[in-house]
Symmetry: C2
Subunit: 607 residues, 2 copies
């Protein structure tokens, strides 16, 4: 955590630049020129200027004030991290929270100029911002200045890590075939080419992976596709001779990263597809041909997994399940010892120590490449901080009572995992049992759902919430997101969420199912499997789809109040546990198998 004194000093440095440039306010979003959710250190400018290190947040600095907007996942963490700084926390989607433009208008008055780095916001974000600022007494926006280049002296460089080829046996489709499909999709929209800017889209298209972003196996680059050429804009030190040869063979040329603006200027086809939600404002404005504004066709293609990718997911989930079982068995042993009143003789375990243990168990698995995101291990009240990541300052020892919420995942060469389990470490309150059971009901209702092909996740989302809503409970995050193939753990555009997302759900997509409840200061519960969408049946009313769980790990049944479960919910739980047992047991030793058999007992027998 950055000390508040340092943050306030940086604000003073920034204000000197702002004064020189006659800027009344400066806006720092959380992303990079590629609109990445997680960014390389070079682009962590919002963290530099505010001290807040969550994945989503926007800092705004005026000459006399500063504020940070973030969403409900980060309310508690941001409050903590902004303490002692000038920053005021702005809670998104809470009544009374002003928009950024409203706040600037209020703080700075009419007619002033505001700054933002046009490279690090999408074209549509900037357009909206310009319109919003104009509404606030005619404020204007300047986009061609990055003050951090002047005040962030030890800013890390843009990563130069090497790129590796993602083998066809996992990717399942060769790059030249993907490019043929992309060009066909573009032709259907009467478009000649496109600029690809999202790093995971580029990695997927080229069957390449990198290590430029923590936990995300992507590499910094742009890809320009025309009807004749494909050009990768990348720092060439990242490419081994083998990769250069490979790209050549797939019909992909290489140019330097900085030359992408020039590449766009030299693009001579009639029109070009740019996704205004994805391409940054500076590049968008540098295009001289007719722009077709549309979602990149790659977004959708990437989310529909082919047979090899699905096989890879299942293999990765098997390994992840083995690691999880070894881990949960170890937690159980710790519980048992502590239950015998042997606390004093026990090793002290904490949020960080169990996270490390789990990471080590995953690292033993073949093709392990690292975590897919920083492990969230929140004990009791920390479990109520949605995106909590324990640090040495916040870490607390586990006690033999209450809930440990564990949201974790790994990158394996054959697939990416994402799983949450909430584990009872000992006695629970009635409230804890009740909330746990309601969250489990929501989780199971999504697993049980059948739906017409093409339905949106917004339509299905309520199934995870209705049991909670009936008791006046809710969670403000989405219910689920797509998962990449040895790629980003968050993959869109399809999702389960309360807000409208038109992206249709189709067979072959992965999606997580992760309802939760967070009672501030008390505890949090979240239960998450990653699911695969598969065909269900076809009738005179069309094609229907279903979910198949990919995640292989028992769900703690000890907190369940069985009277709250419907017979179909109990039956799902039992059959899921049977499936987990049958799949994992052949890969476990005798003691592990015995533990798993017990954990997978039918719920009626256990209660």
């Amino acid at each position: 955590m950055i000390k508040s004194g340092i943050v306030n000093q940086r604000l003073q440095d920034l204000r000197e630049v702002m004064q020189r440039e006659h800027l009344a306010a400066f806006i720092f979003p959380s992303t990079d020129p590629h609109q990445s959710e997680y960014v390389a250190d070079h682009w962590k400018g919002r963290e530099f200027i505010s001290g807040f290190d969550g994945s989503a947040g926007t800092a705004v600095v005026t000459m006399n004030s500063a504020a940070l907007w973030t969403d409900s996942r980060y309310f508690l963490a941001a409050e903590e991290q902004l303490k002692g700084t000038e920053y005021q926390l702005m809670r998104l989607k809470i009544e009374g929270t002003p928009t950024i433009a409203e706040w600037i208008g209020r703080e700075c008055g009419a007619g002033v100029e505001v700054g933002i780095d046009g490279w690090c916001s999408s074209a549509s974000e900037i357009r909206d911002l310009i319109a919003d600022l104009r509404q606030q007494g005619g404020l204007t926006l300047r986009t061609n200045l990055d003050p951090l280049r002047m005040i962030w002296r030890d800013c890390p460089t843009i990563p130069e890590n090497p790129v590796e080829i993602y083998p066809l046996q996992y990717a399942g489709e060769a790059t030249h075939d993907k490019i043929t499909r992309i060009r066909r999709a573009l032709r259907e929209q009467h478009v000649d080419g496109m600029l690809m800017s999202a790093l995971d889209d580029i990695a997927w298209t080229l069957n390449l992976r990198g290590t430029d972003v923590h936990c995300n196996p992507v590499f910094v680059s742009y890809l320009l596709i025309s009807s004749k050429d494909v050009t990768l804009y990348i720092n060439k030190v990242k490419l081994s001779p083998e990769v250069v040869t490979y790209l050549n063979a797939e019909g992909v040329g290489v140019a330097s990263y900085e030359n992408v603006s020039k590449g766009l200027k030299d693009y001579f086809e009639y029109n070009i597809l740019l996704d205004p939600n994805e391409v940054n404002y500076v590049l968008f404005k540098s295009v001289t041909r007719e722009i077709v504004e549309a979602e990149s066709p790659v977004k959708r293609m990437k989310t529909v997994k082919n047979e090899r990718e699905i096989a890879g997911f299942k293999s990765a989930m098997l390994k992840d399940g083995i690691a999880m079982v070894k881990f949960l068995k170890w937690v159980d042993e710790w519980k048992e010892e502590s239950g015998k009143g042997k606390e004093n003789s026990l090793t002290t375990e904490s949020e960080i120590s169990v996270s490390k243990r789990l990471e080590a168990l995953r690292a033993e698995q073949p093709l392990y490449r690292g975590l897919s995101f920083d492990t969230i291990a929140g004990y009791q009240a920390h479990g109520a901080i949605v995106h909590y990541e324990a640090t040495p300052e916040t870490d607390i020892p586990l006690q033999p009572e209450g809930f440990l919420l564990l949201d974790s995942g790994a990158q394996y060469l054959d697939g990416t995992t994402d799983i949450t389990r909430t584990v009872a470490l000992g006695p629970l309150t009635e409230e804890q049992k009740r909330v746990y059971t309601l969250v489990l009901k929501g989780h199971i209702q999504i697993e049980l759902c059948k739906f017409p092909s093409g339905a949106s996740g917004t339509q299905l989302d309520i199934l995870a919430r209705e049991a909670l809503w009936r008791e006046g409970l809710n969670y403000l995050h989405g219910t689920g997101h797509g998962v990449g193939t040895y790629l980003n753990v968050h993959e869109g555009p399809h999702q389960f969420r309360m807000e409208w997302k038109p992206a249709p759900l189709v067979a072959g997509m992965t999606i997580t199912d992760e309802p939760g409840i967070y009672l501030a200061g008390k505890f949090g519960v979240r239960i998450e499997n990653t699911l695969l969408i598969t065909p269900y049946k076809e009738t005179e009313f069309g094609k229907f789809l279903q979910f198949e769980p990919l995640t292989l790990c028992p769900i703690d049944t000890s907190p369940v109040i069985s009277d709250l479960l419907l017979p179909e919910e109990m039956a799902w739980l039992d059959s899921y546990h049977q499936f987990v047992y049958d799949t994992l047991a052949p890969h476990l030793d005798e003691a592990e198998t015995a533990w798993l058999r017990e954990a997978c007992q039918p719920i009626k027998k256990k209660l």
Copy 2:
């Protein structure tokens, strides 16, 4: 029904005009200059030219071909009505159905001109159409010609029916107060005025009602609101001296209907709000001031009922329930007689005869003003035609078996009703019982739902469908719509439906809950109550809402397969029936009360 020979003759008349005007195709939508769902006879041009009389459909005529687009509600009816004409039926939302522009492009080739009457389409429809036609090889659109004025010699005139004052005791809010609220809402959007074009919005705002449109108590007019003036554009013969005095007292001026274009040209404020989905293209184009494109604030205001309106709804529902109980008792007696093998001595009843009987029973009720839509009485296979209206040609006698689907409603001065019951007339097949029970489950899950204030109907819709989807069944219409206060039976923008509708659900709204299943050639089931949205509870997670049934009428439990119902679904059914009995019984005679007691028995006892 218009004979096919007549339709084909009209096509020839039209083509003479088209040839003279060098138009390759002409498009006839189903609406009027006010974008009404149901229109006065004067505007039934699409029916005139195609013979198809459904409420939704678009006819397109080229020099050599003709086609009619309609949605799934009307597939069977349209097929029947288009028989023997040149028209090809285009099924909306079915794979392979071309868009109108695609079809015209295919039929007429590139570069030709297409016609449409710019008065009878909204600005946004025309804009979309222009863009779509341009995509099809550069087709252009002409909007200033209405060929029907030349070929429809006996076209009915625009209605001149008198307008009446809607008493404040039912409206609950005076016109000048409503106008104050509207102006406040406009100011919040920084707008000086608006053109109101939707007939029900105008009726609601002015607390006036009319009889210009079959079943809809509206009157043809426009309302122009500026920061200083309010002007009603209407044919003055419709206004009695009493209404003129009333309007005067409420601060509303009057001008003739034809002068609305002039009124817009003379509008001298800085800007004006027009809803491009509502205001027709010709009027939209005639505005010379800055246009703020936004939804009319009246849409939302009108849907949130005040206390008087809610009291009126409850009073109307009581009367409607009494009529329904008398009717269902009579149906039961007919069933009983026929069950005794006395078919021969029975009066023959048919779809039309029972509709008339029900209408007569409603007409006995105080403040009855007519039907709120044409009764849908579909016996067996006719029940599978979603918007079936029996005609002397299609009417069939009822038999003591299978299902009669009855969707009906009335206009009372104090409120509007809309109810569907599916009644077993005798033995049912297993499939009928199963489908009935699944539809009932869907209906009840909506009734049981609790949800955060502001949720959209798109989020809730799945609760009515999930039981059906699990068996590969679905219905392609929405699950529910708002209902007006002695106004249109379809009131938006809030709805339950699969398609995205952002309109948030808030306390005070009415909404129907009407899932169904339609098995072509077999039978249809639909079960509908009208609901009121009321507060449920407030917690740290915000305000939650619930539904309260307004409709008072037993649901036939004889087809129910009780094993398919959840305990909570049975409990809802029993408590609803208790509520229906307790509310209606004091208003019924002894025999009716005895019948109702039996019909409202708890389901467990009955099965």
